[in-house]
Point group: C2
Chain length 220, copies 2
């Protein structure tokens, strides 16, 4: 039995949720509330690093979202979500890792605008937009003339970058200069797995309360 | 022709260097001095995110060390450095990603001691040691009774964690409570690829100057 411990608003756990759906697997969802539930002994027992997502497959616990994706691909190879060719595989891996190591960290200053919350340092926002633009240029070049990164079919690149890039316009970053990337976003948003896992207004409100509480704490 | 752009002291580029050696590949090494050379137009042309390592294979540039490792494994599959079994593969991926996302960031406060430099906040050092201990317990459990993570033979787990864990005793973290991990370290240190890429005293001195300059700048 597959169980995904997740928080619905988190792009890190949405990657896994979408992969489970795209592979047509049966699974159970357990929500971990990020207002402290991740530090409770029950959850620390399955992930001592207190992060979501975690996937358990019977008594085997897998932490780290990118490790979970590779586990699912190895155990349930149909439909395949990783190319075999070395160059195409490298493109998928670059998109995954640049999303995690460059794009997501640079987006922090855009978070308030993304959530319609007031505040934010204009200088940091400007720097963040420049960093995000570097990633978007890199992705636009990498897309070449295929519908997906390094592939004619959906891959684990889409699962990772495709749960982040479509949020950028809400943070004030236009995709207008990146026509291939915009078409790629539209292609993903039309898929049932993306639609079924899209954050609802209630989830966004819940997340806003957590962010607002954290801001009050760091200012207090 | 394979060219590795690297900094010899960096565990991120040493991962790739060791993999090239373990696979017996021919390659050229180009050192990028991290005192600013990474921001020059020549290097930004091959990696707009200004990080080492980068591997170029003729006209194909690969950024992100974990992407490079998977490229090398796919293009040069002998000797294999990734298990095929889903559970064993997940163990390798967890070790790679926990090293990058948990172990390395938590080690920053231990860096000064590791380099025999004075200073460091005792409270932060204590917190860092606790976080490192959580990772070491996780790794010790994962090693079970095999010589390598999830495998009877060397894998990309060793290449990533094995260029970090052996440095911990220099940072004041004893491996005394982790007998399997200590034996695993000894096993790696005996390999020619580890010995050939070990930081020399000159490299460490060069790195200390960069850290000292950064500290002076942030205090100034």
């Amino acid at each position: 039995m597959l169980t995904l411990y997740h928080a619905p608003i988190s792009p890190n756990s949405r990657r896994v949720w979408i992969t489970l759906l795209e592979k047509g697997l049966e699974f159970e969802l357990v929500e971990i509330k990020l207002d402290g539930e991740q530090f409770k002994p029950d959850f620390l027992g399955i992930n001592p690093f207190h992060h979501i997502p975690v996937l358990t497959d019977d008594d085997f616990n897998i932490v780290e979202s990118l490790a979970i994706l590779d586990y699912l691909e190895a155990k349930y190879p149909t439909p395949t979500l990783l190319p075999k060719d070395a160059k195409e595989l490298a493109m998928v891996r670059m998109v995954q890792l640049v999303t995690v190591n460059e794009l997501l960290p640079s987006m922090n200053p855009l978070m308030l605008q993304m959530l319609d919350l007031p505040g934010g340092d204009p200088e940091k926002i400007e720097q963040a937009q420049q960093k995000v633009a570097t990633v978007l240029r890199f992705f636009e070049n990498l897309l070449d003339d295929r519908p997906y990164f390094g592939s004619e079919t959906l891959s684990l690149a889409e699962v990772v970058a495709g749960t982040v890039v479509p949020w950028l316009p809400k943070g004030g970053v236009s995709l207008g200069d990146y026509p291939k990337l915009r078409a790629w976003c539209d292609r993903l948003m039309a898929r049932p797995a993306w639609q079924a896992t899209e954050a609802t207004p209630e989830m966004i409100e819940g997340f806003k309360s957590i962010i607002a509480a954290r801001m009050a704490q760091s200012n207090g």
